[in-house]
């Protein structure tokens, strides 16, 4: 169903879009964090981009693990280990595979979420990455269960992620730096949820262009 060429395209698109949104993400982090989320993520994906060439012809597991390790050893901050762990856990699901199926996609997202929960001791409603990622993952699963194709699944995932981002505006942060602000974090959207949304959007774009 989905080959590694598609994956490479997706990751490259994620990089492009993250870098495009560098200032926007940083600005979001400025309001409730420490003004570096866009910088951290761009730096990470810049390096990912350079590393991709080496693994272009490898399997899904290797590619995802490469992304994971690159983020882990280059980003730092909170987002480095979180996204790193997410990609790392996801990679275990598709170890050695050059083609993956819908079931793999569902597992891959579940594992990524699990990874972030463990690493970040966080959950839905904490105003983090998870508030975009969990709804997106659920939307994908539901769509596949209803027999929809990936294009539709990720369209819905993008919508769910965006709603998740909107939802983060209404809640108090319980994890991450924004949590120090208490009540003052309300009204602002979470930078990490936003970068997750951008990454889901990248997948949807590539699937549509494909």
């Amino acid at each position: 169903m989905a080959n590694t060429q598609l994956l490479i395209k997706i990751i490259r698109r994620m990089g492009e879009k993250i870098i495009e949104n560098k200032d926007f993400l940083t600005e979001l982090d400025r309001a409730i964090g420490d003004s570096d989320h866009g910088i951290n993520m761009s730096k990470g994906f810049q390096t990912v981009n350079n590393k991709l060439e080496e693994v272009e012809d490898k399997d899904w597991g290797t590619i995802l693990k490469t992304v994971a390790m690159t983020l882990l050893s280059n980003v730092g901050g909170a987002s480095g280990p979180l996204y790193g762990t997410a990609f790392l856990r996801a990679s275990t699901v598709v170890h050695g595979k050059t083609e993956i199926c819908q079931q793999d996609v569902i597992h891959l997202f579940e594992k990524a979420i699990e990874g972030i929960k463990t690493r970040g001791k966080s959950d839905k409603g904490d105003k983090t990455i998870l508030d975009a990622l969990i709804p997106a993952s659920n939307a994908i699963k539901e769509a596949y269960q209803q027999g929809e194709d990936s294009k539709t699944a990720f369209k819905r995932a993008e919508k769910a992620a965006l709603e998740g981002v909107e939802y983060t505006k209404t809640i108090i942060a319980k994890k991450g730096r924004a949590s120090y602000l208490g009540e003052r974090s309300i009204g602002h959207q979470d930078p990490g949820a936003t970068s997750t949304y951008i990454m889901i959007q990248s997948i949807r774009e590539i699937l549509e262009e494909d």
Binding site: D34, D36, S79, P81, Y180, L181
Partner: protein, 332 residues
Amino acid sequence: MKKIINKTENVVEDMLQGMVKAHPEYLKRISESNVLVRKKSPVKGKVALLSGGGSGHEPAHGGFVGLGMLDGAVAGEVFTSPTAEEVLKGIKAVDGGAGVLLIIKNYSGDVMNFEMAAELAQMEDISIEQVIVNDDVAVEDSTYTIGRRGIAGTIFVHKIAGAAAEKGWNLENVKRVAQKTIKNVRTMGMSLSPCIVPSSGKPSFEIEEDEMEFGLGIHGEPGIRREKIKSADEIADALLDNILKDMDLAKGDEVALLVNGLGGTPLMELYIVNKEANNLLKEKEVKVYKTMVGNYMTSLEMKGVSLSLLKLDEELKKLLDSKADTPAFKQL
């Protein structure tokens, strides 16, 4: 952005080079890393202390590497935790066979990266322990949150655990006294102006000429509330008040007081704050055993001050008093 820097992406690299050049008798840098360790690291048979975190808090933490304090410090990008990989390099560089204690400030990024490095180090049979400093009383402490931030009180942990390690205590015992220090220390800060992360180029928050942020951390974040600027006495009172509310201090108890500048506030103002802080503690019949005034844990060029109180007992007093020789903290 008015800064004396070169390329914004090089600030940490340039700074680390400048630090080593300034203090060659104290520091060396581990090659291809942002890790600074003691000139003669690892110290065989001594428990090693490693700290670090984002840059922008100078002299923390590289300035506290030396006799009686840290063995090494890992520097991340400005206000960004170093990666687990970097922390692992630090652990390996300071390990002298008696184990390594990680002193981590309680930020998601720091905690995650240091913990991941600890896991990796354990896989290489390095005995490793960690303590997490969470002295900031501005932040509500609850099991539903990540708890309090680690800020200026960290310096006391470096000093006291460092003294214990220098005396040859074992890892367990050094960790115990580090944890006692963490249990006994509280901090609260305020600021008059934001700071500018070089790579972002923008002030971390906007604030009016007559306003101040109260209860803020060391990463340019806004505080827990904004108020009209008050007098130094009122500021000292308010900070101490918040600290004392959260501390179990009886008349006659002894404390160490740290009046910490956030980077852009001149020493004159820190001393002015110290006057009132000392007076107030005297009024409450709390004995100030030792006072430290200066820029210890900064937030780039931010204007502001934090107060830290460490409740002392005989053990902590002895360790606090013992010799230290580092670029930023010396005690004869």
